[in-house]
Amino acid sequence: MLVLLSACAPESETGSSAAAEDDAVLPVPPEAARALPRPELHPGMPGLLNAAELEALAAAREDGLADIGHLPEFGFGETASPERIAAWDIDIGPDGEGLPPGSGSVERGETLYRLQCVQCHGARGEGSQFEALAGRVPGDRFPFAEDRRYRITVGSYWPYATTLFDYIRRAMPQAAPGSLPPDDVYALTAFILQLNGLLGSGDSLDAESLPRIRMPARDRFVRDDRRGGPEVR
């Protein structure tokens, strides 16, 4: 499948652009999609635990297991086969883990969007009574705590492009959730990213390229520093 990445979108640090173009003519065999190496998660990602936090977690685990140490192992559950798991396991990680084989172009995404999404989200993703999907803040600033004029959208707020694939596949279109095959979800994801200026109109997406899209707001998110105590945060 042909994978074209527009200059502005992919994460430049990964150098994925060139690699993806080299691979572009090689179709990804279906079973290989899950075996793709996970792209590095960026080090500042909230939720990656540092050494001290890993230690705290290990201690919490010991405590938790000690709480139930007096109870036997019950064995009430039934082994889940890989097929059983695959039937429900649709989650996509920020590293692209779980992305299915397939691909979709911006162009095809536009056609699908006109048929299935436009009535609720607007011709250019501007929203109506439903959620706005597209729009950037000038300079990609992030003024949302103090300025109400800008809308929270995929382009202005979402930290990971993989979330778009995951959410559309599980929950949209609203009247027929879970009805879109992977190729359609790739295409719609590509089109919405294009509406946000994050892909060119000739681009396509697949399991390799989607997790490499660098979202403008990626580094805006910080972990929760509220811990109780006298300080208001």
Partner: protein, 419 residues
């Protein structure tokens, strides 16, 4: 939560007592037809002297007195996905299950309990499925705990005193307390052999949104419950029937309902509900992510809009307080707009991560007064003023609105929300 609403006329006193408040206050057409406050309801009848006739025979299913018609508040302005608990109607700390608030993203699914299965997989030694009967067979645990939507109170925060005709239900009705029963999650995680490298797990619902949140493993080893009962009976459909995740003290959205799958991993999943939503923009171009804990909060539920005090004299100021970080240790009341504060009495039981009822006798002199409540929790955290919260979070931060609320009592006894 929509802010674009208007205030209409006062509901009748009878509707107010019935907990139907807020219906008129959100403007014409804003509330489901069945709840229109202006539809006159015939008053139920009762015999002149009930001692002179035999009463009703026992019935297989009880119901409220015909004189009591509390209702959750449902908005129909937008496609509605929430309903609010009539806090001003309630006494004590337990919310009747049929008045527990709801919030969902894809409607309430209809799930056959006999076909129900919970799948646990990912970073585990033995991926397994559990039927509802399996879950019920494990040693059970019951806890009285509050559940609050982290968007609760947003309208009051962003509009300060602009909607004086706001009842506790309208303002803060996305919080409730129940006795939740289920299996400690750590027991299930031990059964499947959760690997020590697992730092997060994904919880996924069986609704049309196939709702997902990432949860730190630490919560599982601490106090997370896979719950199947609420106030002694199976969960209500809108609360996740037949099985939900319950994360005590954490924002409601993370307690995924209609739970079907737990996937253990070594990083969060970055679902839509923890990126696009349920993140808190902060001043300085940042947003807080995974802001699970609910900070200490208190709310006076009497006297509040639309109540009208009958005259000067003794009144008991009542309300609820709660914190996601342990126990409430103190609630103070001010009747002079925050100049002087006095301790309220905390009604036993004072449980961790649970609504606590507070009371304070007040001898009203009949002049205008501003009532406020302020909670402190066991970490030493004191419920902040709106200004303090604004300074820390900015005017349009999106969740976790626990600022002090005020109520203005006019000299005619009418009570209004005052910011």
């Amino acid at each position: 939560m929509a802010n674009n609403r208007e205030n209409g006329g006062l509901p009748s006193r009878r509707d107010v007592l019935a907990g139907v408040v807020g219906t008129a206050a959100v403007g014409a057409g804003a509330v489901a037809g069945a709840q229109q406050a202006d539809t006159p309801k015939p008053r139920p009848r009762a015999p002149e002297d009930p001692t002179k006739m035999q009463g009703l025979v026992p019935r297989p299913l009880g119901e409220r007195s015909a004189f009591e018609t509390p209702r959750r508040l449902v908005r129909v302005l937008e496609p509605s996905s929430s309903s609010r608990t009539p806090l001003q109607y309630l006494q004590g700390i337990v919310t009747p299950a049929d008045l527990h608030f709801e919030r969902h993203h894809g409607g309430i699914p209809n799930i056959d309990p006999e076909r129900y299965e919970l799948l646990i997989h990912g970073m585990v030694e033995r991926p397994q499925t559990f039927t509802l009967a399996d879950l019920k067979r494990f040693p059970a645990e019951s806890k009285l705990r509050f559940l609050e939507c982290s968007g609760n109170g947003g309208t009051a925060f962003q509009n300060q005193g602009r909607y004086p005709r706001m009842s506790p239900q309208e303002m803060d009705g996305l919080t409730s307390t129940s006795e939740w029963t289920g299996v400690p999650l750590k027991l299930l995680f031990r059964e499947v052999g959760a690997r020590p490298e697992a730092t997060w797990f994904l919880a996924e619902g069986m609704d049309a949104a196939v709702m997902t949140r990432s949860v730190p493993m630490e919560k599982a080893w601490d106090d997370a419950i896979v719950a199947y009962a609420q106030n002694g009976e199976p969960l209500r459909p809108e609360q996740g029937y037949p099985v939900r995740l319950f994360l005590p003290g954490w924002e409601g959205n993370a307690s995924v309902k209609w739970l079907r799958r737990l996937d253990l991993s070594d990083r969060p999943f970055m679902t839509r509900e923890e990126t696009s939503k349920y993140t808190d923009p902060l001043p300085g171009g940042k947003a807080r992510m995974f802001s699970f804990g609910m900070d200490a909060k208190s709310l006076i539920t009497f006297p509040t809009f639309p109540e009208r005090l009958g005259g000067p004299g003794w009144w008991e100021v009542r309300g609820i307080a709660w914190t996601g970080r342990g126990r409430i240790t103190r609630v103070e009341i001010s009747t002079d707009g925050g100049r002087n504060w006095e301790d309220a009495e905390l009604q036993e039981p004072v449980l961790p991560k649970c609504h606590v009822r507070f009371r304070k006798l007040w001898n009203w002199d009949g002049r205008g007064a501003t009532l406020m409540s302020r909670a402190t929790d066991e970490t030493g955290y004191v419920q902040p003023t709106r200004d303090a919260l604004l300074a820390a979070r900015g005017s349009y931060t999106r969740y976790h609105y626990n600022q002090i609320r005020s109520w203005r009592v006019e000299s005619d006894g009418q009570v209004f929300f005052a910011g």
